[in-house]
Symmetry: C2
Subunit: 323 residues, 2 copies
Protein backbone atom coordinates (compact mmCIF):
# COMPACT_ATOMS: atom_id res chain seq x y z
CA UNK A 1 0.00 0.00 0.00
CA UNK A 2 1.37 3.43 -0.81
CA UNK A 3 1.35 6.30 1.61
CA UNK A 4 -1.45 8.19 -0.20
CA UNK A 5 -3.79 5.22 0.09
CA UNK A 6 -2.87 4.81 3.74
CA UNK A 7 -3.59 8.49 4.35
CA UNK A 8 -7.00 8.20 2.74
CA UNK A 9 -7.91 5.11 4.72
CA UNK A 10 -6.82 6.71 7.98
CA UNK A 11 -8.95 9.76 7.21
CA UNK A 12 -11.85 7.38 6.60
CA UNK A 13 -11.18 6.01 10.09
CA UNK A 14 -10.25 2.47 9.08
CA UNK A 15 -8.86 0.71 12.12
CA UNK A 16 -6.21 -1.36 10.41
CA UNK A 17 -4.91 1.70 8.56
CA UNK A 18 -4.72 3.63 11.85
CA UNK A 19 -2.82 0.81 13.51
CA UNK A 20 -0.45 0.67 10.57
CA UNK A 21 0.11 4.42 10.61
CA UNK A 22 0.97 4.36 14.30
CA UNK A 23 3.37 1.47 13.70
CA UNK A 24 5.17 3.56 11.10
CA UNK A 25 5.53 6.29 13.73
CA UNK A 26 6.59 3.83 16.43
CA UNK A 27 9.25 2.24 14.22
CA UNK A 28 10.54 5.63 13.10
CA UNK A 29 9.92 4.66 9.50
CA UNK A 30 11.02 7.27 6.93
CA UNK A 31 7.43 7.16 5.61
CA UNK A 32 6.03 8.36 8.94
CA UNK A 33 6.99 11.98 8.25
CA UNK A 34 5.29 11.91 4.87
CA UNK A 35 2.17 10.39 6.39
CA UNK A 36 1.99 12.97 9.18
CA UNK A 37 2.42 15.76 6.67
CA UNK A 38 -0.41 14.44 4.52
CA UNK A 39 -2.66 13.97 7.55
CA UNK A 40 -1.94 17.36 9.09
CA UNK A 41 -4.74 19.32 7.37
CA UNK A 42 -7.27 16.94 8.94
CA UNK A 43 -6.04 17.44 12.50
CA UNK A 44 -7.17 19.96 15.09
CA UNK A 45 -10.61 18.62 15.98
CA UNK A 46 -9.81 16.10 18.71
CA UNK A 47 -9.75 17.06 22.36
CA UNK A 48 -6.62 15.69 24.04
CA UNK A 49 -6.70 14.61 27.67
CA UNK A 50 -3.55 13.65 29.59
CA UNK A 51 -3.90 11.32 32.57
CA UNK A 52 -0.89 10.94 34.82
CA UNK A 53 0.07 10.08 38.39
CA UNK A 54 2.39 7.87 40.43
CA UNK A 55 2.63 4.11 39.80
CA UNK A 56 -0.25 2.23 41.41
CA UNK A 57 -2.69 5.16 41.54
CA UNK A 58 -5.07 3.44 39.14
CA UNK A 59 -4.47 5.56 36.03
CA UNK A 60 -5.25 2.68 33.66
CA UNK A 61 -8.54 2.00 35.39
CA UNK A 62 -9.57 5.65 35.35
CA UNK A 63 -8.53 5.98 31.72
CA UNK A 64 -10.43 2.88 30.64
CA UNK A 65 -13.58 3.75 32.57
CA UNK A 66 -13.46 7.24 31.20
CA UNK A 67 -13.17 5.86 27.66
CA UNK A 68 -16.15 3.62 28.41
CA UNK A 69 -18.09 6.64 29.68
CA UNK A 70 -17.47 8.58 26.46
CA UNK A 71 -18.14 5.49 24.38
CA UNK A 72 -21.57 4.98 25.94
CA UNK A 73 -22.39 8.67 25.71
CA UNK A 74 -21.45 8.68 22.02
CA UNK A 75 -23.44 5.51 21.29
CA UNK A 76 -26.59 7.19 22.58
CA UNK A 77 -26.09 10.70 21.23
CA UNK A 78 -23.91 10.52 18.14
CA UNK A 79 -22.94 7.27 16.56
CA UNK A 80 -20.07 8.82 14.57
CA UNK A 81 -18.08 9.98 17.57
CA UNK A 82 -15.06 8.02 18.74
CA UNK A 83 -12.58 7.85 21.61
CA UNK A 84 -8.92 6.74 21.56
CA UNK A 85 -6.56 5.71 24.34
CA UNK A 86 -2.79 6.04 23.97
CA UNK A 87 -1.18 4.21 26.88
CA UNK A 88 2.43 5.17 27.30
CA UNK A 89 4.63 2.44 28.63
CA UNK A 90 7.58 4.29 30.09
CA UNK A 91 11.14 3.49 29.21
CA UNK A 92 11.98 2.31 32.68
CA UNK A 93 12.73 -1.37 33.17
CA UNK A 94 11.37 -1.02 36.71
CA UNK A 95 7.81 -0.05 35.93
CA UNK A 96 7.10 -1.58 32.54
CA UNK A 97 5.91 -4.95 33.79
CA UNK A 98 3.17 -3.79 36.10
CA UNK A 99 1.69 -1.43 33.56
CA UNK A 100 1.50 -4.10 30.94
CA UNK A 101 -0.35 -6.29 33.42
CA UNK A 102 -3.04 -3.64 33.95
CA UNK A 103 -3.37 -3.14 30.26
CA UNK A 104 -3.98 -6.79 29.54
CA UNK A 105 -6.77 -6.96 32.10
CA UNK A 106 -8.55 -3.91 30.77
CA UNK A 107 -8.78 -4.57 27.06
CA UNK A 108 -12.48 -5.42 27.42
CA UNK A 109 -13.12 -1.72 26.84
CA UNK A 110 -11.94 -2.23 23.31
CA UNK A 111 -14.94 -4.45 22.60
CA UNK A 112 -16.81 -1.22 21.95
CA UNK A 113 -16.67 -0.26 18.27
CA UNK A 114 -16.05 3.41 18.92
CA UNK A 115 -13.00 2.88 21.18
CA UNK A 116 -9.44 2.32 20.01
CA UNK A 117 -6.63 1.48 22.47
CA UNK A 118 -2.99 1.69 21.54
CA UNK A 119 0.02 1.09 23.80
CA UNK A 120 3.23 2.92 23.00
CA UNK A 121 6.30 1.19 24.36
CA UNK A 122 9.92 2.04 23.94
CA UNK A 123 11.70 -0.87 25.48
CA UNK A 124 15.03 -1.31 23.81
CA UNK A 125 15.39 1.89 21.88
CA UNK A 126 15.06 4.59 24.49
CA UNK A 127 13.93 8.13 23.93
CA UNK A 128 11.55 9.70 21.52
CA UNK A 129 8.51 8.32 23.31
CA UNK A 130 6.78 11.62 23.93
CA UNK A 131 7.33 12.67 20.33
CA UNK A 132 5.84 9.41 19.11
CA UNK A 133 2.87 9.79 21.42
CA UNK A 134 2.09 13.22 20.02
CA UNK A 135 2.41 11.85 16.50
CA UNK A 136 0.06 8.96 17.33
CA UNK A 137 -2.39 11.51 18.71
CA UNK A 138 -2.20 13.40 15.40
CA UNK A 139 -3.07 10.20 13.54
CA UNK A 140 -6.12 9.59 15.76
CA UNK A 141 -7.05 13.24 15.36
CA UNK A 142 -6.92 13.02 11.56
CA UNK A 143 -8.89 9.76 11.71
CA UNK A 144 -11.81 11.64 13.24
CA UNK A 145 -11.48 10.66 16.88
CA UNK A 146 -13.19 13.22 19.12
CA UNK A 147 -11.50 12.41 22.40
CA UNK A 148 -7.92 11.21 22.81
CA UNK A 149 -6.90 9.97 26.25
CA UNK A 150 -3.13 9.85 26.82
CA UNK A 151 -2.16 7.84 29.87
CA UNK A 152 1.38 8.19 31.24
CA UNK A 153 3.18 7.23 34.42
CA UNK A 154 4.21 10.43 36.12
CA UNK A 155 7.94 9.82 36.24
CA UNK A 156 10.74 11.25 34.18
CA UNK A 157 10.83 14.23 31.94
CA UNK A 158 9.51 12.58 28.79
CA UNK A 159 6.25 11.90 30.59
CA UNK A 160 5.96 15.54 31.58
CA UNK A 161 6.53 16.45 27.92
CA UNK A 162 3.46 14.43 27.05
CA UNK A 163 1.45 16.29 29.63
CA UNK A 164 2.29 19.51 27.77
CA UNK A 165 0.72 17.88 24.72
CA UNK A 166 -2.69 17.66 26.41
CA UNK A 167 -5.52 20.18 26.42
CA UNK A 168 -6.59 19.01 29.87
CA UNK A 169 -4.26 17.23 32.29
CA UNK A 170 -5.67 15.08 35.07
CA UNK A 171 -3.42 13.98 37.94
CA UNK A 172 -4.56 10.78 39.68
CA UNK A 173 -3.56 10.28 43.32
CA UNK A 174 -4.52 7.78 46.04
CA UNK A 175 -5.00 8.35 49.78
CA UNK A 176 -1.49 6.98 50.41
CA UNK A 177 -0.01 9.76 48.28
CA UNK A 178 -1.34 12.26 50.80
CA UNK A 179 1.76 12.54 52.96
CA UNK A 180 3.96 13.74 50.18
CA UNK A 181 1.57 16.29 48.75
CA UNK A 182 3.22 19.07 50.67
CA UNK A 183 6.58 18.22 49.19
CA UNK A 184 5.37 17.91 45.67
CA UNK A 185 2.96 20.77 45.44
CA UNK A 186 5.17 22.86 43.16
CA UNK A 187 5.57 20.31 40.39
CA UNK A 188 1.98 19.08 40.52
CA UNK A 189 0.43 22.51 40.50
CA UNK A 190 2.15 23.22 37.22
CA UNK A 191 0.81 20.21 35.41
CA UNK A 192 -2.60 19.43 36.96
CA UNK A 193 -5.74 21.07 35.63
CA UNK A 194 -7.48 19.08 38.32
CA UNK A 195 -6.85 16.14 40.65
CA UNK A 196 -8.60 12.79 40.94
CA UNK A 197 -8.38 11.09 44.32
CA UNK A 198 -8.85 7.46 43.36
CA UNK A 199 -9.52 4.52 45.70
CA UNK A 200 -11.41 7.03 47.81
CA UNK A 201 -13.00 4.24 49.88
CA UNK A 202 -9.65 3.62 51.52
CA UNK A 203 -8.69 4.98 54.95
CA UNK A 204 -7.31 8.50 54.87
CA UNK A 205 -9.23 9.52 51.74
CA UNK A 206 -10.96 12.48 53.35
CA UNK A 207 -7.72 13.81 54.84
CA UNK A 208 -6.04 13.40 51.46
CA UNK A 209 -8.75 15.44 49.72
CA UNK A 210 -8.45 18.07 52.44
CA UNK A 211 -4.69 18.31 52.11
CA UNK A 212 -4.84 18.59 48.31
CA UNK A 213 -7.42 21.35 48.72
CA UNK A 214 -5.20 23.10 51.25
CA UNK A 215 -2.25 23.01 48.88
CA UNK A 216 -4.46 24.24 46.03
CA UNK A 217 -5.75 27.04 48.23
CA UNK A 218 -2.28 28.16 49.25
CA UNK A 219 -1.01 28.00 45.72
CA UNK A 220 -3.84 30.00 44.20
CA UNK A 221 -4.49 32.46 47.01
CA UNK A 222 -2.03 35.06 45.83
CA UNK A 223 -2.48 34.50 42.10
CA UNK A 224 -4.25 37.24 40.19
CA UNK A 225 -7.81 36.10 39.70
CA UNK A 226 -10.41 37.21 37.26
CA UNK A 227 -13.83 35.67 36.88
CA UNK A 228 -12.35 33.52 34.13
CA UNK A 229 -9.40 32.10 36.07
CA UNK A 230 -9.49 28.32 36.18
CA UNK A 231 -8.99 27.03 39.71
CA UNK A 232 -8.02 23.35 40.00
CA UNK A 233 -10.19 21.16 42.22
CA UNK A 234 -10.33 17.55 43.42
CA UNK A 235 -12.72 14.80 42.26
CA UNK A 236 -13.04 11.59 44.31
CA UNK A 237 -13.39 8.26 42.52
CA UNK A 238 -13.45 4.52 43.11
CA UNK A 239 -12.14 3.53 39.71
CA UNK A 240 -12.72 -0.22 40.01
CA UNK A 241 -16.43 0.32 40.62
CA UNK A 242 -16.72 3.16 38.12
CA UNK A 243 -17.76 5.55 40.91
CA UNK A 244 -17.08 9.23 40.22
CA UNK A 245 -16.12 8.75 36.57
CA UNK A 246 -19.07 10.88 35.45
CA UNK A 247 -17.76 13.67 37.70
CA UNK A 248 -14.32 13.39 36.12
CA UNK A 249 -15.90 13.73 32.66
CA UNK A 250 -17.91 16.71 33.91
CA UNK A 251 -14.78 18.41 35.23
CA UNK A 252 -13.01 17.83 31.91
CA UNK A 253 -15.95 19.40 30.09
CA UNK A 254 -15.90 22.36 32.48
CA UNK A 255 -12.17 22.86 31.93
CA UNK A 256 -12.61 22.62 28.18
CA UNK A 257 -15.31 25.29 28.23
CA UNK A 258 -13.06 27.50 30.32
CA UNK A 259 -10.16 27.09 27.87
CA UNK A 260 -12.38 27.83 24.91
CA UNK A 261 -13.93 30.91 26.47
CA UNK A 262 -10.56 32.43 27.36
CA UNK A 263 -8.84 31.64 24.06
CA UNK A 264 -6.36 29.47 25.94
CA UNK A 265 -7.15 26.44 23.81
CA UNK A 266 -5.84 28.30 20.75
CA UNK A 267 -2.78 29.39 22.73
CA UNK A 268 -2.07 25.82 23.76
CA UNK A 269 -2.38 24.66 20.19
CA UNK A 270 -0.10 27.44 18.93
CA UNK A 271 2.53 26.39 21.44
CA UNK A 272 2.22 22.80 20.34
CA UNK A 273 2.71 23.80 16.70
CA UNK A 274 5.73 25.88 17.60
CA UNK A 275 7.24 23.00 19.54
CA UNK A 276 6.56 20.67 16.62
CA UNK A 277 8.27 22.95 14.11
CA UNK A 278 11.29 23.27 16.39
CA UNK A 279 11.49 19.48 16.74
CA UNK A 280 11.35 19.03 12.98
CA UNK A 281 14.03 21.67 12.44
CA UNK A 282 16.39 20.02 14.96
CA UNK A 283 15.87 16.66 13.28
CA UNK A 284 16.60 18.12 9.88
CA UNK A 285 19.70 19.97 11.08
CA UNK A 286 20.98 16.80 12.69
CA UNK A 287 20.41 14.76 9.54
CA UNK A 288 22.04 17.33 7.26
CA UNK A 289 25.02 17.76 9.55
CA UNK A 290 26.12 14.19 10.17
CA UNK A 291 27.26 13.23 6.68
CA UNK A 292 29.93 10.58 6.08
CA UNK A 293 32.77 13.10 6.04
CA UNK A 294 31.87 14.53 9.45
CA UNK A 295 31.27 11.09 10.94
CA UNK A 296 34.77 10.19 9.81
CA UNK A 297 36.33 13.29 11.38
CA UNK A 298 34.53 12.47 14.62
CA UNK A 299 35.80 8.87 14.66
CA UNK A 300 39.36 9.98 13.98
CA UNK A 301 39.37 12.63 16.68
CA UNK A 302 38.17 10.38 19.48
CA UNK A 303 41.56 8.85 20.14
CA UNK A 304 43.19 12.27 20.34
CA UNK A 305 40.60 13.23 22.94
CA UNK A 306 41.13 9.96 24.82
CA UNK A 307 44.85 10.71 25.06
CA UNK A 308 44.11 14.32 26.07
CA UNK A 309 45.76 15.83 23.00
CA UNK A 310 42.46 17.55 22.24
CA UNK A 311 39.23 18.29 24.11
CA UNK A 312 35.67 17.36 23.07
CA UNK A 313 35.01 21.11 22.99
CA UNK A 314 37.71 21.82 20.37
CA UNK A 315 36.51 18.97 18.22
CA UNK A 316 32.89 20.15 18.35
CA UNK A 317 33.87 23.71 17.45
CA UNK A 318 35.96 22.50 14.52
CA UNK A 319 33.16 20.28 13.24
CA UNK A 320 30.58 23.06 13.37
CA UNK A 321 32.90 25.78 12.01
CA UNK A 322 32.69 24.79 8.37
CA UNK A 323 28.91 24.44 8.11
Amino acid sequence: MNIFQLTEQIILGERRAIARGISLVENESPQALELLQLLFPKTGNAYRIGITGPPGAGKSTITNKLALHYSNQFSEANKNKKVAIIAVDPTSPFTGGALLGDRVRMTDVEMNDNVFIRSMASRGSLGGLSKKTKEAADIFDAAGFDIILMETVGVGQSELDIVSAADTTVVVLVPESGDSIQAMKAGLMEIADFFVLNKSDRPGAEQAVMSIKTVLGLATRYAQHTEETWIPDVVSTIGNEGKGIDKVAEMIAKHRTSLERTNQLTNKRSERIEERIRELVEEQLHKNFWNDAREKILRNEIEFVLSHKRTPYDVAVELVKNV
Copy 2:
Protein backbone atom coordinates in the same frame (compact mmCIF):
# COMPACT_ATOMS: atom_id res chain seq x y z
CA MET B 1 36.68 35.17 40.63
CA ASN B 2 37.55 34.51 37.02
CA ILE B 3 37.20 31.15 35.38
CA PHE B 4 40.95 30.44 35.28
CA GLN B 5 41.24 30.89 39.02
CA LEU B 6 38.19 28.69 39.55
CA THR B 7 39.74 26.03 37.32
CA GLU B 8 42.97 26.06 39.30
CA GLN B 9 41.19 25.83 42.63
CA ILE B 10 39.04 22.96 41.44
CA ILE B 11 42.15 21.11 40.28
CA LEU B 12 43.61 21.70 43.73
CA GLY B 13 40.48 20.02 45.11
CA GLU B 14 39.10 23.01 47.01
CA ARG B 15 35.60 22.18 48.15
CA ARG B 16 34.03 25.59 47.71
CA ALA B 17 35.44 25.88 44.21
CA ILE B 18 34.04 22.44 43.32
CA ALA B 19 30.61 23.41 44.67
CA ARG B 20 30.74 26.63 42.69
CA GLY B 21 31.77 24.85 39.50
CA ILE B 22 28.88 22.41 39.81
CA SER B 23 26.48 25.30 40.41
CA LEU B 24 27.65 26.88 37.15
CA VAL B 25 26.82 23.60 35.42
CA GLU B 26 23.48 23.25 37.22
CA ASN B 27 22.42 26.80 36.33
CA GLU B 28 23.51 26.37 32.71
CA SER B 29 25.79 29.36 33.05
CA PRO B 30 27.64 30.35 29.86
CA GLN B 31 30.88 30.03 31.85
CA ALA B 32 30.23 26.33 32.50
CA LEU B 33 31.39 25.33 29.03
CA GLU B 34 34.62 27.28 29.40
CA LEU B 35 35.25 25.71 32.80
CA LEU B 36 34.64 22.18 31.52
CA GLN B 37 36.95 22.78 28.61
CA LEU B 38 39.74 23.99 30.90
CA LEU B 39 39.22 21.06 33.27
CA PHE B 40 39.08 18.40 30.58
CA PRO B 41 42.81 17.59 30.45
CA LYS B 42 42.66 16.68 34.14
CA THR B 43 39.81 14.19 33.76
CA GLY B 44 39.98 10.46 33.09
CA ASN B 45 41.25 9.15 36.41
CA ALA B 46 38.05 8.72 38.42
CA TYR B 47 36.13 5.48 38.43
CA ARG B 48 32.40 6.13 37.91
CA ILE B 49 29.80 3.92 39.56
CA GLY B 50 26.08 4.20 38.77
CA ILE B 51 23.60 3.02 41.40
CA THR B 52 20.00 2.69 40.33
CA GLY B 53 16.80 0.82 41.17
CA PRO B 54 13.11 1.33 41.86
CA PRO B 55 11.92 3.89 44.44
CA GLY B 56 12.18 2.53 47.99
CA ALA B 57 14.89 -0.04 47.27
CA GLY B 58 17.35 1.75 49.51
CA LYS B 59 19.67 3.21 46.88
CA SER B 60 20.59 6.22 49.05
CA THR B 61 21.52 3.97 51.95
CA ILE B 62 23.64 1.68 49.79
CA THR B 63 25.29 4.68 48.12
CA ASN B 64 26.08 6.38 51.41
CA LYS B 65 27.38 3.24 53.10
CA LEU B 66 29.49 2.48 50.06
CA ALA B 67 30.95 6.00 50.19
CA LEU B 68 31.69 5.46 53.87
CA HIS B 69 33.38 2.15 53.03
CA TYR B 70 35.68 3.80 50.49
CA SER B 71 36.25 6.76 52.80
CA ASN B 72 37.46 4.50 55.62
CA GLN B 73 39.57 2.43 53.26
CA PHE B 74 41.20 5.57 51.89
CA SER B 75 41.83 7.02 55.37
CA GLU B 76 43.84 3.94 56.27
CA ALA B 77 45.66 3.33 53.01
CA ASN B 78 46.01 6.59 51.15
CA LYS B 79 45.07 9.89 52.70
CA ASN B 80 44.89 11.69 49.34
CA LYS B 81 42.12 9.58 47.87
CA LYS B 82 38.55 10.91 47.79
CA VAL B 83 35.02 9.79 47.01
CA ALA B 84 32.11 11.83 45.60
CA ILE B 85 28.37 11.18 45.53
CA ILE B 86 26.14 12.74 42.89
CA ALA B 87 22.53 12.12 43.92
CA VAL B 88 20.16 12.70 41.06
CA ASP B 89 16.76 13.99 42.07
CA PRO B 90 14.55 13.09 39.14
CA THR B 91 12.36 15.59 37.38
CA SER B 92 9.15 13.94 38.48
CA PRO B 93 6.94 15.81 40.89
CA PHE B 94 5.81 12.44 42.21
CA THR B 95 9.10 11.14 43.53
CA GLY B 96 11.11 14.24 44.41
CA GLY B 97 9.89 14.59 47.96
CA ALA B 98 10.76 11.16 49.27
CA LEU B 99 14.25 11.24 47.83
CA LEU B 100 15.02 14.54 49.41
CA GLY B 101 13.94 13.11 52.75
CA ASP B 102 16.44 10.26 52.50
CA ARG B 103 19.16 12.67 51.58
CA VAL B 104 18.65 14.86 54.59
CA ARG B 105 18.92 11.93 56.97
CA MET B 106 22.11 10.62 55.45
CA THR B 107 24.33 13.68 55.31
CA ASP B 108 26.33 12.40 58.30
CA VAL B 109 28.52 10.64 55.75
CA GLU B 110 29.68 14.04 54.64
CA MET B 111 31.36 14.58 58.02
CA ASN B 112 34.27 12.66 56.55
CA ASP B 113 36.81 14.97 54.96
CA ASN B 114 37.38 12.80 51.93
CA VAL B 115 33.69 12.56 50.95
CA PHE B 116 31.74 15.12 48.95
CA ILE B 117 27.98 14.79 48.40
CA ARG B 118 26.11 16.78 45.80
CA SER B 119 22.42 16.55 44.90
CA MET B 120 21.40 17.44 41.38
CA ALA B 121 17.77 18.53 41.10
CA SER B 122 15.88 19.84 38.15
CA ARG B 123 12.58 20.91 39.60
CA GLY B 124 11.15 23.69 37.53
CA SER B 125 13.34 23.59 34.46
CA LEU B 126 12.99 20.06 33.15
CA GLY B 127 15.49 18.23 31.04
CA GLY B 128 19.21 18.27 30.80
CA LEU B 129 19.64 16.46 34.10
CA SER B 130 21.69 13.57 32.76
CA LYS B 131 23.95 15.95 30.86
CA LYS B 132 24.49 18.02 34.00
CA THR B 133 25.25 14.91 36.04
CA LYS B 134 27.95 13.87 33.60
CA GLU B 135 29.40 17.38 33.69
CA ALA B 136 29.40 17.36 37.51
CA ALA B 137 31.22 14.02 37.36
CA ASP B 138 33.83 15.61 35.10
CA ILE B 139 34.35 18.35 37.68
CA PHE B 140 34.86 15.80 40.48
CA ASP B 141 37.15 13.83 38.20
CA ALA B 142 39.32 16.87 37.46
CA ALA B 143 39.33 17.70 41.18
CA GLY B 144 41.11 14.43 41.87
CA PHE B 145 38.25 12.30 43.19
CA ASP B 146 39.03 8.61 42.77
CA ILE B 147 35.54 7.20 43.05
CA ILE B 148 32.36 8.91 41.85
CA LEU B 149 29.06 7.35 42.90
CA MET B 150 26.07 8.45 40.81
CA GLU B 151 22.75 7.57 42.41
CA THR B 152 19.60 7.74 40.27
CA VAL B 153 16.04 6.55 40.57
CA GLY B 154 15.48 3.99 37.86
CA VAL B 155 12.65 5.70 36.05
CA GLY B 156 12.53 7.59 32.79
CA GLN B 157 15.00 7.77 30.01
CA SER B 158 17.21 10.50 31.45
CA GLU B 159 18.08 8.21 34.34
CA LEU B 160 19.03 5.44 31.95
CA ASP B 161 21.27 7.91 30.13
CA ILE B 162 23.15 8.45 33.35
CA VAL B 163 23.63 4.73 33.70
CA SER B 164 25.41 4.79 30.36
CA ALA B 165 27.78 7.33 31.90
CA ALA B 166 28.99 4.84 34.52
CA ASP B 167 31.89 2.39 34.33
CA THR B 168 30.05 -0.02 36.61
CA THR B 169 26.27 0.00 37.05
CA VAL B 170 24.71 -1.53 40.15
CA VAL B 171 20.96 -2.24 40.22
CA VAL B 172 19.46 -2.33 43.72
CA LEU B 173 16.32 -4.43 44.26
CA VAL B 174 14.36 -5.55 47.34
CA PRO B 175 12.60 -8.87 47.99
CA GLU B 176 9.29 -7.24 47.04
CA SER B 177 10.61 -6.50 43.55
CA GLY B 178 10.92 -10.25 42.98
CA ASP B 179 7.53 -10.76 41.38
CA SER B 180 8.17 -8.45 38.50
CA ILE B 181 11.68 -9.61 37.71
CA GLN B 182 10.44 -11.92 35.02
CA ALA B 183 8.70 -9.07 33.26
CA MET B 184 11.57 -6.68 33.47
CA LYS B 185 14.48 -8.94 32.78
CA ALA B 186 15.20 -7.51 29.35
CA GLY B 187 15.68 -3.92 30.43
CA LEU B 188 17.60 -4.77 33.58
CA MET B 189 19.99 -7.17 31.92
CA GLU B 190 21.09 -4.38 29.63
CA ILE B 191 22.00 -1.95 32.36
CA ALA B 192 23.10 -4.05 35.37
CA ASP B 193 26.70 -5.13 35.75
CA PHE B 194 25.46 -6.80 38.91
CA PHE B 195 22.48 -6.76 41.24
CA VAL B 196 22.21 -5.92 44.92
CA LEU B 197 19.34 -7.50 46.81
CA ASN B 198 18.88 -5.04 49.65
CA LYS B 199 16.77 -5.55 52.79
CA SER B 200 17.73 -9.20 52.50
CA ASP B 201 16.46 -9.90 56.04
CA ARG B 202 12.91 -9.50 54.80
CA PRO B 203 10.68 -12.46 53.92
CA GLY B 204 11.11 -13.69 50.37
CA ALA B 205 14.75 -12.62 50.10
CA GLU B 206 16.05 -16.07 49.25
CA GLN B 207 13.42 -16.60 46.59
CA ALA B 208 14.20 -13.18 45.14
CA VAL B 209 17.91 -14.01 44.88
CA MET B 210 17.01 -17.33 43.26
CA SER B 211 14.72 -15.71 40.72
CA ILE B 212 17.28 -13.05 39.79
CA LYS B 213 19.85 -15.82 39.35
CA THR B 214 17.42 -17.78 37.20
CA VAL B 215 16.82 -14.78 34.97
CA LEU B 216 20.56 -14.14 34.74
CA GLY B 217 21.15 -17.77 33.88
CA LEU B 218 18.54 -17.77 31.13
CA ALA B 219 19.78 -14.51 29.71
CA THR B 220 23.44 -15.52 29.57
CA ARG B 221 23.04 -19.19 28.70
CA TYR B 222 23.08 -18.69 24.94
CA ALA B 223 25.51 -15.77 24.85
CA GLN B 224 28.95 -16.44 23.44
CA HIS B 225 31.28 -16.88 26.37
CA THR B 226 35.02 -16.64 26.61
CA GLU B 227 37.00 -16.88 29.80
CA GLU B 228 36.89 -13.11 29.95
CA THR B 229 33.13 -12.67 29.65
CA TRP B 230 31.67 -10.81 32.61
CA ILE B 231 28.66 -12.61 34.04
CA PRO B 232 26.42 -10.51 36.32
CA ASP B 233 25.70 -11.90 39.80
CA VAL B 234 23.68 -10.97 42.90
CA VAL B 235 24.99 -9.59 46.21
CA SER B 236 22.72 -9.57 49.29
CA THR B 237 22.81 -6.60 51.65
CA ILE B 238 21.08 -5.10 54.67
CA GLY B 239 21.90 -1.50 53.89
CA ASN B 240 20.69 0.01 57.17
CA GLU B 241 23.08 -2.17 59.17
CA GLY B 242 25.89 -1.87 56.65
CA LYS B 243 25.80 -5.63 56.04
CA GLY B 244 27.14 -6.80 52.68
CA ILE B 245 28.57 -3.41 51.68
CA ASP B 246 32.10 -4.84 51.63
CA LYS B 247 30.86 -7.50 49.19
CA VAL B 248 29.37 -4.80 46.96
CA ALA B 249 32.72 -2.98 46.92
CA GLU B 250 34.45 -6.28 46.16
CA MET B 251 32.14 -6.96 43.23
CA ILE B 252 32.74 -3.45 41.87
CA ALA B 253 36.51 -4.04 42.09
CA LYS B 254 36.11 -7.38 40.30
CA HIS B 255 34.07 -5.78 37.53
CA ARG B 256 36.61 -2.98 37.18
CA THR B 257 39.44 -5.48 36.82
CA SER B 258 37.46 -7.35 34.20
CA LEU B 259 36.83 -4.13 32.22
CA GLU B 260 40.48 -3.16 32.39
CA ARG B 261 41.74 -6.57 31.34
CA THR B 262 39.48 -6.71 28.29
CA ASN B 263 40.03 -3.12 27.14
CA GLN B 264 36.34 -2.44 27.68
CA LEU B 265 37.02 0.47 30.01
CA THR B 266 38.73 2.31 27.15
CA ASN B 267 35.82 1.44 24.85
CA LYS B 268 33.32 2.81 27.36
CA ARG B 269 35.30 6.01 27.66
CA SER B 270 35.60 6.39 23.89
CA GLU B 271 31.83 6.05 23.61
CA ARG B 272 31.35 8.65 26.29
CA ILE B 273 33.65 11.08 24.46
CA GLU B 274 31.81 10.46 21.21
CA GLU B 275 28.48 11.12 22.90
CA ARG B 276 29.85 14.29 24.46
CA ILE B 277 31.10 15.66 21.14
CA ARG B 278 27.73 14.93 19.53
CA GLU B 279 25.92 16.73 22.35
CA LEU B 280 28.16 19.78 21.98
CA VAL B 281 27.67 19.83 18.22
CA GLU B 282 23.87 19.69 18.56
CA GLU B 283 23.96 22.53 21.08
CA GLN B 284 26.11 24.63 18.79
CA LEU B 285 23.95 23.95 15.74
CA HIS B 286 20.87 24.87 17.71
CA LYS B 287 22.41 28.12 18.93
CA ASN B 288 23.69 29.13 15.49
CA PHE B 289 20.39 28.32 13.82
CA TRP B 290 17.87 30.14 15.96
CA ASN B 291 18.84 33.73 15.25
CA ASP B 292 16.33 36.59 15.48
CA ALA B 293 15.39 36.41 11.80
CA ARG B 294 14.48 32.72 12.01
CA GLU B 295 12.63 33.15 15.30
CA LYS B 296 10.57 35.83 13.57
CA ILE B 297 9.75 33.60 10.60
CA LEU B 298 8.69 30.89 13.02
CA ARG B 299 6.40 33.22 14.97
CA ASN B 300 4.79 34.50 11.78
CA GLU B 301 4.15 31.07 10.35
CA ILE B 302 2.38 29.67 13.40
CA GLU B 303 -0.95 31.28 12.60
CA PHE B 304 -0.85 29.94 9.03
CA VAL B 305 -0.29 26.48 10.47
CA LEU B 306 -3.08 26.96 13.01
CA SER B 307 -5.48 27.83 10.19
CA HIS B 308 -4.20 24.86 8.14
CA LYS B 309 -2.86 27.04 5.31
CA ARG B 310 0.53 25.46 5.89
CA THR B 311 1.87 22.42 7.73
CA PRO B 312 4.61 22.32 10.40
CA TYR B 313 6.56 20.16 7.95
CA ASP B 314 6.59 22.81 5.18
CA VAL B 315 7.64 25.50 7.64
CA ALA B 316 10.50 23.39 9.00
CA VAL B 317 11.75 22.56 5.50
CA GLU B 318 11.63 26.22 4.52
CA LEU B 319 13.50 27.31 7.64
CA VAL B 320 16.27 24.75 7.14
CA LYS B 321 16.55 25.24 3.36
CA ASN B 322 18.56 28.46 3.49
CA VAL B 323 21.18 27.38 6.03
